[in-house]
Symmetry: C2
Subunit: 338 residues, 2 copies
């Protein structure tokens, strides 16, 4: 039995002017919506993650406490649960699935929140990495609905360097002839393993590896054990077309790339009314604090609060660094109380 619900979106037209017919948005909720519908939080998923992989920040006694809040975790398109290359019938299956933007994702998430639950006000939107990208979109697209945002280790727009990092990830997967432009029968495992190794250098910082935290904190027996057990373990089970779709979503992420803001990034940042705490990690190699500093300078009600850590992009990520997660949880609590 699935541990999530499905919201039927019908036929949806994307920014690309392509249609996903009978599109579906998979989601899970935690806690109970109050009668006044004033305790809702939206917490989108990250690159390749599914709703259950967001749960490290949800729990009794934590800021995202399901006894108090109604927490909605919508699955990103392409993550294998919401409409994705891997689960959509022809003619838009697999290698033919249309590109989806973060804007497309958040527009449909809004429908879930509004049409399904009748919610018109959100206490908070928060998310990690690509979840942060979606968080920024919520703030810019629904400024009167979103009271607070806490995007962590992500950005409102994919930076040029981040784009290049992802070009390497993409090229390493596509170098495997078994990928076959998306028309594989068996998974392109060589490409998926290569992608995992490329990612490994980016996900954690130089200091993380220098301090051997893969061994001493995460419990792997050796560096090679970490590369196989952790990194290849993340990517091998996932579908290559799904990964490439979400990578496209990431590379093309930009809160101003739509008919509202028409590419004016500063204007889009200025539209975010929500009270915001933006939390980069000091050693994040692809979302460095400098990019967030620019954003915060153009947001009317935002604070930049950098997590000082050696855990790189995984600082506030899925359960790896307890100290950084405590810092993050404490900021979430503070923001929710304000």
């Amino acid at each position: 039995m699935a541990d999530y619900e499905m919201f039927e979106l019908g036929d949806i037209v994307l920014q690309s002017q392509q249609t996903i017919r009978n599109a579906r948005l998979a989601y899970k909720t935690y806690g109970t919506l109050s009668p006044a519908k004033d305790n809702a939080i939206v917490y989108p998923t990250w690159y390749s993650g599914q709703h259950y992989e967001n749960e490290w920040l949800i729990g009794e006694g934590m800021a995202l406490d399901p006894r108090k809040y109604f927490i909605i975790v919508p699955n990103m398109f392409g993550n294998g649960l919401s409409s994705s290359p891997s689960n959509t019938p022809a003619p838009i299956d697999r290698g033919r699935f249309p590109n989806v933007t973060a804007y497309d994702n958040v527009r449909q998430q809004y429908r879930l929140v509004h049409e399904k639950f009748g919610i018109d006000s959100l206490e908070l939107v928060t998310g990690w990495s690509m979840g942060a990208l979606q968080t920024y979109h919520w703030g810019a697209l629904y400024p009167d609905m979103v009271k607070r945002i806490l995007p962590f280790q992500g950005s409102a727009k994919c930076s040029r360097h981040n784009f290049v990092f992802l070009e390497g990830v993409k090229a390493s997967l596509q170098a495997d002839a078994a990928y076959n432009n998306g028309w594989y029968e068996a998974p392109p495992t060589k490409g998926l393993r290569a992608m995992a190794r490329v990612y490994a250098g980016w996900g954690f910082s130089q200091a993380f590896y220098r301090q051997r935290l893969d061994i001493t904190a995460m419990g792997y027996a050796s560096l090679e054990d970490f590369l196989v057990g952790f990194w290849e373990g993340i990517f091998l089970p996932r579908d290559a077309n799904n990964l490439l779709l979400m990578l496209w979503t990431w590379q093309n992420g930009d809160i101003s790339n739509n008919e509202i803001f028409k590419g004016d990034f500063v204007k889009a940042l200025g539209a975010i009314k929500a009270k915001a705490i933006v939390m980069p990690a000091s050693t994040d190699l692809y979302f460095p604090p400098e990019d967030n500093a620019f954003e915060v300078a153009h947001m009317p009600n935002a604070e930049l609060r950098t997590i000082e850590t050696v855990w790189g992009h995984f600082a506030g990520g899925p359960g790896t660094s307890p100290a950084d997660i405590a810092t993050l949880d404490s900021a979430l609590r503070e923001l929710l109380a304000s």
Copy 2:
């Protein structure tokens, strides 16, 4: 006509206890050896580079002035000119070429310097990146011969993070089935292009890309133009087996991994008597200054002097950042005068 000379090494036994028969060391010299043989400099090549790609630091009026010094540029094994997978006959051709360490390289470079030229004292050894790795080896293996060293943007030992970065580069090349474990007839171009894109995110810093220096300083028309014209342009013409051999040399670089120091890295650093200026770049993503700081702390006569720059690993590299090269040249001049 070749613009370099060849030193015939005969049969050489490597640290791996494998033999390269009729091994050859390609080199080029600049300037004239003084009658007292007291004006020699050794300047080894970098990853994939050949002697002419070292010339950005050599010139009249520069610190490495051929009117004053006799500058020897030895080509690293595997770079396509010295003995390499691409130019060695069976049975150790191509996918069967034995692994070569930086130690092996420097031992044979010593023979060139000593046997061919009769030089017993070096004014300076310097090098960029893997050239720096060889520079450290010179200092540790020939402490009474090497008066000064200036390793820039490299290290005496491949760090764990650097190793992981290289795992990604290697995996992206090997993901191409055309590579065929080294027994390709036509080059594995998909893998070489993938490798180039992986490298692109590491070679220059986040700030370099943020400031669009690929366009404004280097003259490319767009980011994609830079990825193809610069990065794919570097790797596509080079031989895959050669690149993988040198990558192995890099990953296994460690001045203490030999019968002299028996893995005692601190002891090996302590053996470097040469007066040293060690120059990392502040934004180098795979040779961060922290690793050099550890080294300098254990070297008896060394100064750490970080180049503040946004050019990342290419700061002092082949001709890309004139300001950083001026900083480097000035330090070389100062060291040579001391």
